[in-house]
């Protein structure tokens, strides 16, 4: 009942609800519960691009997966069977993506991922109809490892939650980091108190700390780390430093280096107008999740310019060409339909009263993921 009403309400609000709609998009994303900020940003970025395109042959259905795999699967079934969508998108979390994407692509639907990039879908499990517009999960962590080398770190303490994306994170960091490890810890997913871990960092003799603790976990860790009086440099992926989170962390995040494929100060025309239009439309600065939603919609629209979903091969080729102005600047797909892109190092700064990021270096250039070689399609 709840799911049905969520979909109905969203489809009433869908932008171009016309009877002659040619392409139907089902967006399954997290709009309630702890991780809702991420899904809301992806949705808002996506819908901004749809609105700007002013097409009446594109219809978007939005559903809330509540960050639960079973709900996501039900939504996908409903969107495929009842709404007859051609394209699915929107999922934030890797475990939800693993539950939805393989069955959707097996039913000849296209899936455009605006966030989750589990390694299983980049290597052996890749599929011609699956395109990841954000990154493969390991990528930002690999850039953090590369940055740690450049910064002269020789002895890192590394920490991540004990679940598949957490293991991908530490694997990604270790793949590029050339120094020693002073310690390696997995924490409970959703843990909010890090006193025990911070005490071990203090005693470990490390010269730097790498952490991947997305969302609220990162807020807790950074505040407690700042209060502990340890002044070792911290590096991490952008997920604990996005625009939605930084205001809750405050001064504790200032100066921290983090890696991202996007930032609001990337200087190209598409990005400048995206940041301005997003702020006008929603009254807040966009996050990297919003930029990913925006790029995903523009990729889809660019494919609609040249091909029709009734001809899947042509539509797939049009998607693969990635002929759109990405807010990241250069963007192209590798053979496994994952991005080949630059990943930047950002620093947390304060602009007036607002905490935000500034690009200070390029971590990795034209970076592809480590699993592309396993993908046969």
């Amino acid at each position: 009942m709840k799911i049905r009403s969520a979909v109905l309400a969203a489809s009433i609000a869908a932008l171009a609800a016309s009877a002659s709609a040619d392409v139907k998009v089902g967006m399954i994303t997290t709009l309630s519960g702890g991780g809702a900020g991420l899904g809301i940003d992806v949705r808002d970025g996506f819908l901004l691009a749809v609105k700007q395109a002013e097409r009446d042959d594109l219809e978007v259905f939005v559903g809330d997966d509540q960050r639960k795999p079973d709900v996501a699967v039900q939504l996908a079934d409903k969107m495929i069977q009842s709404e007859k969508v051609d394209v699915l998108t929107g999922i934030i979390w890797s475990n939800l993506a693993m539950a939805v994407v393989p069955s959707a692509t097996a039913q000849d639907k296209f899936y455009l991922s605006p966030n989750a990039g589990p390694s299983a879908l980049a290597g052996k499990g890749c599929h011609p109809n699956y395109f990841n517009v954000a990154w493969q999960n390991d990528n930002l962590h690999e850039a953090a490892g590369a940055y740690a080398n450049d910064a002269g770190f020789a002895n890192s303490f590394i920490i991540a939650p004990n679940y598949p994306a957490g293991k991908d994170a530490l694997t990604g960091y270790k793949r590029f980091f050339e120094g020693e490890l002073a310690g390696e810890l997995y924490t409970k997913l959703g843990q909010t108190d890090y006193a025990a871990e911070i005490a071990q960092i203090r005693a470990s003799g490390a010269d730097s700390v790498f952490f991947f603790l997305p969302g609220g976990m990162g807020i807790s860790f950074l505040k407690q780390y700042a209060a502990s009086g340890i002044d070792l440099p911290v590096v991490g992926p952008a997920f604990s430093f996005d625009q939605g989170i930084l205001q809750a962390v405050g001064d504790a995040a200032l100066g921290v280096k983090n890696t991202s494929q996007w930032n609001k100060d990337i200087n190209n025309a598409a990005n400048i107008s995206f940041v301005k239009d997003f702020e006008t439309e929603y009254g807040r600065l966009p996050s990297l999740y919003a930029s990913q939603g925006f790029d995903t919609a523009n990729l889809l629209i660019s494919a609609m310019e040249t091909a029709d979903t009734t001809d899947p091969d042509a539509f797939r080729a049009a998607l693969k060409a990635a002929n759109f102005d990405s807010v990241r600047g250069s963007f192209k797909f590798g053979d496994n339909h994952h991005p080949i892109q630059d990943i930047y190092v950002r620093e947390v700064i304060k602009e007036g009263d607002v905490y935000t990021n500034k690009i200070i270096a390029t971590g990795l250039t034209n970076h592809a993921d480590a699993y592309a070689g396993d993908c046969k399609m």
């Binding site: 309630s32 519960g33 702890g34 809702a36 900020g37 809301i40 004990n162 293991k167 270790k174 020693e180 490890l181 002073a182 310690g183 390696e184 810890l185 997995y186 924490t187 409970k188 959703g190 909010t192 108190d193 006193a195 025990a196 871990e197 005490a199 071990q200 203090r202 005693a203 470990s204 003799g205 969302g215 609220g216 976990m217 807020i219 807790s220 505040k223 407690q224 209060a227 502990s228 009086g229 939605g244 989170i245 205001q247 809750a248 962390v249 405050g250 001064d251």
Partner: protein, 320 residues
Amino acid sequence: MVGGSYLPPTGTVFHMTFTLFAEQLLNGLQFGVMLFLMSAGLTLVFGVMGLINLAHGSLYMVGAFAAAAVAAATGSFVLALMASLAAAAAAGAIIELTIIRRLYNRDHLDQVLATFALILIFSEGTRWIFGSFPLFLDVPQALSGPITLPGGIEYPLYRLAIIGIGLGVATGLFAMINRTSVGIRIRAGEADREMIAALGVDIAKLYTFVFALGAALAGFAGALVGAIQSVQVGMGEPVLILAFVVIVIGGIGSIKGALVGALLVGMTDTLGRFLLPQMLGWILEPSSAISIGSAVSSMSIYILMAGVLIYRPQGLYGSG
């Protein structure tokens, strides 16, 4: 590539491990004290009214959000703490008067269903008012940063303050239950509800008071902890699960049991996270010791609970 040991180079080993261990004991104590604030209300409500309240975590969230809002508006942490007490107590009293009191004579399944619905209402209501993004609430300037304790232990001052405040609240609660007339009524209510009603005590008022008191303690815990964690929708549910573990270990309805249970759970969880991966490192290769150790340590409090229940099914201080 994988560093196996968390110990620093030899020479400083003993001193460093002593301070590290002492710091972890303090961490366990602080975690336990916070859990006590959360579980005291839960156990009182169950003991006196026989009600399972799943929405207790929502009251924790209400306290944290009220504190964050008041701190943002006034800049005062003391006012923020007072706001958390007031807001959570008010929310508790309102839901007791409108919803909870219809549930006392229903069976536990109805109570679970209704209070679960309250969780959803509180979560989405909070999102409606405050938005989906986490709020900012920081430690007050006077309590920020670490201090050096005897023995060379560096410890965050704010966490020490939480230990002090929590123990103070526990003392006050014990004094109230054991020394005041309200406390006598609460204890009588636990022992025999019908009888104290027959003796002319206004049982409805007593229930509202106990529920609001439990809510205020939960909200206070939410505000104290919110300053070092993240104030966000859904923050109460993980703590709620731990609070249930605490009251099952301590014995449902017993405040003393809640205190002992909270300290046991706090210590077990903290020391388990710290020691288990290291101890497994003696018998396993480092990378598997880390992942197995962290998996086992996240189960440690449930293993503790199972162990206690085998020997004392009614909990450590439970009656019956």
